[in-house]
């Protein structure tokens, strides 16, 4: 036993190149997975907080019916430990300074906002500041545009109904400034307790009561379960993840991080597998010797198992030592991006996947070849025995593949991801089989000569087994890295495309039909043409195939669209960013049918030919579903769940028109002229929503870059592992070739060519497999559309060929710098 222990020493192990590679792979695996997991958990918390602040809470309950909710509902929320807050929103005329103006009032309780902050200014030239509560009783904060419109100054008074309030601040940004249709005219924010004194809110007036809730996720869910049966159609319960605009960015970010983590796991596992197999091969003489000295198979097993555990501990500790500072760095970068402090905290649960990765890599990949060491015969000391053919490793490989994909599944929680990657790998293996067969049949005919090309091809043929396994590993590495690059690129492109610099940042709502041309003309004159104008009719979906919709749809489905009035429209051509996924768009002259947004159709289980009945005011309209289309919700353009053909079901119903357009900040004053000329048209400013989304995109982009760097490091370790696996053989061959009279230049050229061919093939296979995986991923996870990425299909094989041929050159270095004599002796 003492002898066994003496044989174990990390320091001695460290001298072995293969052990260094195994340790490096483990450290990178643990570091990558831990960093990603920690950061993803931090990012998620930050994003949720950030996105929650869009609601100024974790959940909102809106009552559109003009009646407050029963007190008992709020008491129940209190009892469940939830924070609550209240708002009342209504439109009214205000008087002050030189005139009057239609405004949108938001009266808030002391608790508002439960999440996020309000941005205010004490005067037009004062610095902006963030505050965490609204104006006090007797005060009012107003939009700067209103200040200009009414020619008011800070400290002046503003009449809201019967009440006179003091303008004490300018409202720059409210955390929940979403697309609420009541929030149309310039905003005025006051205290909720002042509302009764204004006398504006009376029975029957158009008022929206909004209730804010914040607290533990479980408590919120529990509360909703309690609340749901009591909700009326006019009540709308809204959570962050229901918000169409943000949840998509958020989900994609999460998924990307998980994808990155999974790829890191795969890469590290490959590196561990290659290096430990190589280590096991190099240990066979030692094992044979130990056996002749009297150590039995079990003793050998124990010896190497303990060594493995030692590596595991070293890898985990090393990995965490890398991961923690990296995480702090990323997290503090995050708070820089957000320009506000982020509460950085270590989520211990996030470390579990890293530890699991280390253990699975060690036991599924490193252990099997090392375990087989106990079978090395002592006879080997006397007579070199045939090495492993590789066939006995197959069952282990199978176990390892299952283990690693199981890990990815567990880690990413997405079967689609596992299936996509596995599919890409299967394709890769099939292509490799084909390539191997092709290599054997084609290259067999090549005969060597002084020509470097022929020598290189002959070399490839001779090392066909080694070449194929190298191509396999390189191709897999490239596939994983390329997958990540492609997904990253398409993710960022998608975001960029959705939010170009001139993305619409203002909505015009409530345009009367007879002023549509005039409104369009106004902005045309300002040099800011409007996007498409759409008519809008508010209506509720009430029946599905003649059955009340709430009965027709399973109760489990929480469908916001059913709880509120929908914006219905008619249009003759499909908007550019919409896409028909089923059925046909209306032909010219068609007056029947309705086109439904795909996600809603999915949730309602709608099929082509289903009959939908809408209640619009006192009218009922029934139409058949003729097409299902996708919509870009985050395009910042008017989007509709339901579209009718011109002259169709909505014909004759009262409609107003809606549009969006881009207004550069320096032209903001044009809004004042516009409001004077068209007082009934509502202007909705959404600059801050756009900048919020851009913030999120930026955060995620940073994270993505950091993760990409880690993945590339993992890929390099894989390369190093593979290179180190064949280094000795290649050096021996190089030395011998030189002894037999090969010129240095010939050796260099043929080796570089051989590696270039290897790299080119690996690159090509890797890219094609990556495309396949990306195709599947895009399709299933990122909801993007697929196209071939020529920008990687051509350069990656090229770069891979160049890099590998330089690698080959680098491997030859010792062969060229030392006399062949010395080299042969050294390698003996």
């Amino acid at each position: 036993m003492a002898a066994e222990q003496k044989l174990m020493s990390v320091r001695r192990d460290w001298r072995e190149r293969d052990v260094r590679v195994v340790l490096a792979a483990l450290v990178i695996a643990v570091a990558t997975v831990a960093t990603i997991a920690l950061f993803a958990s931090q990012l998620q918390r930050t994003l949720v907080t950030s996105a929650s602040s869009f609601l100024a809470a974790d959940r909102q309950l809106e009552a559109e019916n003009g009646r407050p909710i029963p007190d008992s509902w709020l008491q129940e929320a209190d009892a469940r430990g939830l924070e609550t807050g209240q708002m009342v929103e209504f439109s009214t005329m205000v008087f002050g300074g030189e005139g009057f103006q239609l405004v949108s009032v938001k009266a808030v309780s002391n608790e508002y906002p439960l999440r996020g902050e309000i941005e205010v200014q004490e005067g037009p030239d004062s610095p902006r500041q963030l505050v965490s509560s609204g104006p006090g009783p007797g005060e009012v904060w107003i939009n700067p545009r209103l200040l200009r419109l009414l020619e008011l100054e800070i400290g002046d008074s503003l009449e809201v109904g019967n009440l006179e309030l003091t303008v004490s601040g300018l409202l720059i940004r409210e955390p929940d400034g979403g697309f609420r249709l009541s929030a149309l005219a310039p905003r005025v924010m006051m205290h909720k307790d002042d509302v009764p004194s204004t006398g504006v809110v009376q029975e029957g007036s158009r008022v929206e009561f909004v209730y804010l809730f914040a607290g533990e996720e479980a408590a919120l869910e529990g509360y909703y379960e309690w609340l749901q049966p009591q909700l009326e159609p006019s009540h709308e319960w809204e959570g962050v993840r229901d918000g169409e605009t943000f949840s998509r960015s958020l989900q994609r970010a999460e998924r990307f991080l998980l994808l990155g983590g999974s790829l890191a796991v795969l890469l590290a596992a490959v590196a561990v597998a290659v290096a430990s197999r190589q280590y096991a091969l190099s240990q066979r003489d030692t094992v044979a010797l130990l056996k002749t000295l009297g150590l039995n198979g079990a003793g050998i097993g124990r010896l190497y198992l303990r060594r493995l555990l030692l590596w595991g501990v070293t890898g985990i500790v090393g990995g965490l030592l890398v991961a923690l500072p990296l995480f702090w760095l990323l997290a503090s970068m995050l708070s820089d991006v957000l320009e506000r402090p982020v509460d950085i905290s270590l989520d211990p649960a996030a470390l579990a996947p890293a530890l699991l990765t280390a253990l699975v890599s060690l036991f599924a990949f490193a252990y099997p070849p090392i375990r087989r060491l106990r079978n090395v015969p002592a006879m080997r000391v006397l007579r070199s025995q045939p090495g492993e053919s590789g066939r006995e490793a197959w069952p282990d490989m199978l176990v390892a593949i299952v283990a690693i994909f199981g890990l990815v599944w567990l880690y990413a929680g997405e079967l689609a991801l596992v299936v996509s990657l596995l599919g890409g790998l299967v394709l890769l293996l099939a292509a490799l089989g084909l390539l191997g067969w092709g290599m054997v049949t084609v290259l067999r005919r090549v005969r060597g000569g002084g020509n470097a090309w022929r020598l290189a091809l002959v070399g490839l043929y001779r090392h066909r087994n080694a070449s194929l396994s190298q191509i396999a590993v390189f191709a897999m590495t490239l596939m994983l890295a390329a997958t990540l690059v492609l997904v990253r690129t398409s993710l960022l492109d998608d975001w960029q495309a959705q939010l170009p610099d001139d993305a619409p940042n203002h909505f015009l709502i409530n345009i009367a039909p007879d002023t549509v041309d005039e409104v369009a003309g106004f902005w045309e004159g300002q040099g800011q043409p409007l996007e498409e104008l759409y008519p809008m009719v508010r209506g509720r979906l009430t029946e599905l195939n003649g059955q009340p919709v709430k009965e027709a749809v399973s109760k489990d489905e929480r469908i916001g669209a059913l709880n509120r009035e929908l914006n219905l429209t008619w249009m003759d051509s499909l908007p550019e960013d919409n896409e028909i996924v089923e059925g046909q768009w209306f032909a010219d002259g068609d007056q029947d049918g309705v086109s439904v947004e795909a996600e809603l159709a999915g949730r309602l289980g709608l099929q082509l030919g289903d009959e939908l009945t809408f209640t619009i005011g006192s009218e009922k309209v029934t139409e058949t579903v003729t097409s299902i289309r996708t919509v870009q919700w985050d395009s910042m353009k008017p989007n509709f769940y339901m579209a009718f053909p011109p002259g169709g079901g909505l014909e004759g119903l009262p409609a107003t028109w809606i549009t969006s357009f881009y207004l550069p900040p320096e032209k903001n004053t044009a809004l004042n002229d516009f409001s004077r000329q068209f007082p009934t048209v509502s202007v909705l400013e959404i600059d801050h929503i756009i900048s919020r989304i851009q913030e999120i995109v930026q955060q995620v982009t940073r994270a993505i870059e950091a993760i990409l760097a880690l993945i590339l490091a993992a890929a390099l370790v894989v390369m190093a592992a593979v290179v180190s696996a064949t280094l000795r053989d290649r050096q021996r061959e190089g030395a011998l070739l030189r002894t037999l009279g090969g010129r240095q230049s010939l050796l260099v050229r043929s080796t570089m060519l051989e590696f270039a061919v290897l790299g080119g093939f690996a690159g090509l296979l890797g890219v094609v497999a990556a495309e396949a995986a990306v195709y599947a991923l895009q399709f299933r996870m990122f909801e993007g559309s697929f196209s071939w990425h020529w920008q990687v299909i051509i350069p990656i094989p090229l770069i891979s060929a160049i890099v590998l041929s330089l690698f080959g050159r680098w491997q030859l270095r010792p062969v060229l710098s030392v006399s062949p004599m010395l080299l042969l002796r050294r390698l003996e």
């Binding site: 000569g449 002084g450 020509n451 090392h463 053989d729 061959e733 010939l746 002796r825």
Partner: protein, 242 residues
């Protein structure tokens, strides 16, 4: 290329001539002299054995004579070319066209079959139809049935026969053998050295062999002794002459 012209010995300088060869290697804080002032002339077609104990410097001498390494001092002429004046590539060219090697540890490439191992120098020298010539040679050394076997599947004696076939493949004018039977048992060693000598005679090659086996050395026309870096050639009576 295929047929090296072999002029008559009288009209030609010696095949190998070493003048004042000295070789030192630098250790961490010391220099070790491995060879000291070695002078040697070997004529065309001669067979020469260099005998000495382990560590006497004989393998180093062989390497220098074959142009695998360059001496610290002195010069080596091989077939009229002064090796120390040649560039590494020119030396490689010289080895490819005129020199063959047989090593104690065979030095076959494990990934290659017997046939491919023998083809290797032919391919490097750009000699036409290497496969045909390699087959003939392997048949000549009695391994016609083992062409597709890799070194692992061959015994030590068989591996050395492959190495000998490889050494003669490019029809070298001089063959260097470093303890060719050192890793083999007596009987196998005997068979291998028989083969080596026979091929040498057939092809009229100059043979330079390093060995500590007196029996093997005795089969060569001349014997040199090396001890502590100094070379001596015993006269007919077995007494050393300088």
């Amino acid at each position: 290329m295929n047929q090296m012209t072999k002029p008559t010995p009288e009209s030609q300088p010696p095949m190998l001539r070493a003048k004042d060869l000295t070789h030192r290697v630098r250790l961490e804080n010391d220099t070790l002299t491995i060879l000291q002032g070695v002078n040697l002339e070997i004529n065309r077609g001669e067979s020469v054995a260099i005998v000495g104990r382990s560590g006497s410097g004989k393998t180093t001498l062989l390497g220098l004579l074959a142009g695998l390494d360059t001496p610290t001092e002195g010069s080596v002429e091989l077939d009229g070319a002064t090796i120390s004046q040649l560039s590494e590539d020119e030396r490689a060219q010289l080895r490819a066209s005129r020199v063959g090697f047989v090593f104690q540890s065979f030095q076959l490439l494990p990934a290659l079959t017997a046939l491919e191992n023998v083809m290797l120098p032919l391919e490097l020298a750009g000699i036409g139809d290497p496969e045909k010539r390699a087959r003939e040679l392997l048949e000549r050394v009695g391994l016609g049935e083992r062409l597709t076997h890799t070194p692992r599947q061959l015994s030590g004696g068989e591996q050395q026969r492959v190495a000998i076939a490889r050494a003669f493949a490019s029809e070298p004018v001089v063959l260097f053998a470093d303890e060719p039977t050192g890793n083999l048992d007596n009987r196998t060693g005997q068979a291998v050295s028989d083969l080596l000598m026979a091929l040498n005679r057939e092809q009229g090659t100059t043979l330079v062999m390093v060995t500590h086996d007196e029996h093997l050395a005795a089969r060569c026309a001349r014997q040199f002794h090396i001890e502590a870096g100094q070379l001596t050639e015993p006269n007919e009576l077995g007494e050393p002459v300088s």
